[in-house]
């Protein structure tokens, strides 16, 4: 993974010292809140319902064991013993005291981590496929390009006060696991007919109150033009994005109002000016960054195949976990392990300090010291020999992290919702917990198959409900929580925005509604190979409306 150079170390340490001074001046009263608020936000410090919240950046979701142990330390020393992994591959701590945050940031800096640009109207943490560098279907590792973008966008003087926040995601496989089409810029790393590396470029995707699927404005952008073309896009946005209305300020609105074709033309005009400047990426620079992401030396471990067969035969729970949570690796003797942070009835994305320590130990011993955070709020061990799966599983069982539900109905994405968030209108976590408990049976989950439920506690859509196969949006109606259900959303290479199925459900009725939807799907699918999304796309909303609301609604 990328290692800080002297400049990086000095920059982050300077920033900690600067923020320490700002916090001291705020606490002494020298700085007023109006002056301080933008400064704390630039350092990832929010004020939530109960306390401050610190959001720490995990660039493209990649961590080593030392860093994960530091996150455990932060949870233990400055928080209440846990952290919340987010849908942007970051982690949030819910209870830090403002007076102690500079110390927490200094501790983070010691392991090359920070909270810069995790808030504010700037270019946020660049996200990437959580299986990057390991997936069997990958064309190239997207992380070197995400790192180049991270370096370019960090305190970029031109792009520190954009009309609104700006999110970039990169994937290196045809199967999009980074949801690039619902990002401000989505980059699909690919090879052209000549074998050259470049990107399909998508612009103007996003969720929130106005969900939009990004438009592809370039089929193939040579890798050397990554920064000049991205600069051109953000410059056009910075010039023409709306600053009069924060709800219309994202680039998706500019793309919508301008038209993708015209916007692409404007980008090309800027790009023509920038193409042959210092922004052009020399091959040597790309290679230098790529070398940081060289895969570990994976020795042949063919004994794993026989071991695995034996272990699976001996333990059906282990077999189920392997089937559900281990994906094929580029190397046939290895796999990619999803560590579910969705225990039955648990809180999506939460991990205690002890669990973080345990995962760090496992990664160090068995997984080449690499951990990823997925935007689906799970942890990933990207390089694991099949021969080591059994001891890893035992260690995960011991720390309560061996739930075999990756991609199933209980692998629910949920934002913090009204239990924590100052913006939320309704709770998300208890809804996720009740659905998880209702569908707790492993056999029932297996029967249902792949089904992604995503829950947001407000229209800002941090829980990605728009792209859930089943999406839940919590709203406040007459002082009470109500949950609107959308069906048919998807955040992959065939992105779609879910359709509102009908009137919302009260908290005590929403799990029953989900069950009705699931039972309806089971009753109409062609066979077990037709998953929920495929079935919904085949039959449309009517059977589900009928099941939920009766004939009158179905006819409407």
């Amino acid at each position: 993974m990328y290692r800080y150079d002297e400049f990086d170390h000095a920059f982050v340490n300077d920033r900690v010292a600067q923020f320490r001074d700002q916090v001291a001046r705020r606490l002494s009263g020298e700085l007023a809140e109006d002056a301080f608020k933008p400064l704390r936000l630039m350092n990832g410090v929010y004020l939530q319902l109960h306390a401050y919240m610190l959001r720490v950046a995990i660039p493209y979701g990649t961590l080593n064991s030392r860093q994960l142990r530091m996150l455990a330390h932060i949870a233990r020393k400055y928080d209440r013993g846990y952290g919340h992994f987010t849908t942007r591959q970051n982690i949030q701590f819910n209870w830090p005291a403002l007076s102690e945050i500079p110390d927490a940031l200094a501790d983070l800096a010691s392991v090359e981590m920070h909270a810069i640009q995790t808030s504010g109207n700037c270019i946020r943490n660049v996200t990437a496929d959580h299986f990057a560098g390991a997936a069997a279907d990958e064309v190239a590792d997207p992380r070197p390009y995400a790192e180049i973008l991270r370096q370019w966008s960090s305190v970029h003087p031109e792009f520190s006060y954009l009309p609104r926040k700006f999110k970039i995601a990169v994937t290196g496989a045809e199967r999009d696991r980074a949801a690039i089409q619902v990002h401000d810029i989505g980059l699909h790393l690919k090879k052209n007919d000549k074998g050259e590396t470049g990107f399909a470029v998508y612009v103007g995707g996003g969720q929130g109150r106005t969900p939009m699927i990004a438009k592809k404005i370039r089929d193939f952008l040579p890798e050397e033009d990554l920064l000049s073309y991205t600069t051109a896009i953000v410059r056009v946005y910075n010039l023409h994005g709306r600053r009069d209305n924060k709800y219309k300020a994202r680039i998706k609105i500019l793309v919508h109002e301008t038209g993708a074709e015209e916007l692409a033309r404007q980008v090309e005009v800027e790009f023509a000016e920038l193409k042959n400047t210092e922004l052009k990426l020399p091959d040597a620079d790309i290679q230098a960054i790529t070398s940081y992401f060289a895969p570990p030396a994976l020795e042949p471990r063919a004994e794993g195949w026989a071991n695995l067969a034996q272990w699976k035969k001996a333990d059906s729970d282990f077999a189920r976990w392997v089937h559900q949570n281990v994906q094929p690796h580029k190397h046939p003797d290895y796999g990619m392990v999803t560590i579910s942070l969705k225990p039955i009835g648990g809180i999506p994305g939460d991990a205690t300090d002890e669990q973080m320590e345990a995962v760090a130990d496992i990664a160090e011993e068995y997984a080449f010291d690499e951990i990823r955070v997925s935007h689906e709020q799970n942890l990933i061990l990207p390089h694991v020999a099949l021969a080591d799966l059994e001891p890893i599983y035992r260690a995960l069982v011991a720390t309560g992290l061996a739930t075999a539900n990756a991609g199933l109905i209980t692998d629910i994405i949920a934002c913090p919702g009204l239990d924590y968030c100052a913006l939320a209108n309704a709770r998300s976590i208890p809804v996720a917990q009740e659905i998880s408990n209702r569908f707790a049976s492993a056999d029932r989950q297996a029967e249902i198959g792949e089904l992604k439920i995503k829950i947001s506690g407000c229209i800002n859509a941090c829980g990605h409900h728009h792209v859930g196969h089943i999406g839940l949006l919590g709203v406040e109606k007459k002082g009470e929580e109500l949950y609107q259900i959308t069906l048919g959303g998807s955040g992959d290479e065939n992105t779609s925005i879910g359709e509102i199925i009908g009137r919302g459900f009260e908290p005590e009725k929403v799990t029953d509604a989900i069950e009705v939807i699931v039972d309806t799907y089971l009753g109409l699918r062609l066979d077990q190979s037709e998953n929920f999304l495929a079935a919904y796309r085949r039959v449309g909303p009517q059977p589900f409306k009928h099941a939920l609301y009766g004939n009158a609604a179905a006819a409407a």
């Binding site: 705020r26 109960h50 013993g81 009204l418």
Partner: protein, 105 residues
């Protein structure tokens, strides 16, 4: 008139607090001073403005409450959760849950 209390978050650690009858910022809603007429609400607002200016608290708001069997209950769920803490159990040792359930229900 709906009963009202003054709430904020403490500057130093962000913890939710309510102004009590002694004029101090208390971490329990149940200790809050309840304003039951216009003049009392105006006094609360003035106190809140001053405390903000004095850099004691941030995010100062007057919120609606009702008193049920001697227990103060904010009318909005958001404020009930602020008063009781998250409605979900968390890591071992977290104490917010039990207090919250009775308030949110």
């Amino acid at each position: 008139m709906t009963d009202k209390v003054l709430t904020a978050n403490r500057l130093s650690d962000g913890i939710s607090v309510w102004l009590d009858a002694a004029g101090t910022w208390n971490t329990s809603l149940q200790e809050a001073f309840v304003a039951r007429h216009k003049e009392a609400v105006e006094a609360l607002e003035a106190t809140g403005k001053q405390a903000f200016a004095d850099n004691k608290v941030v995010d100062v708001n007057v919120v609606d409450v009702e008193e049920v069997d001697g227990v103060l209950r904010p009318l909005r769920m958001r404020e009930r959760i602020r008063a009781g803490g998250p409605t979900i159990p968390y890591a071992a040792g977290y104490a917010g849950l039990n207090a919250t359930r009775s308030v949110v229900a």
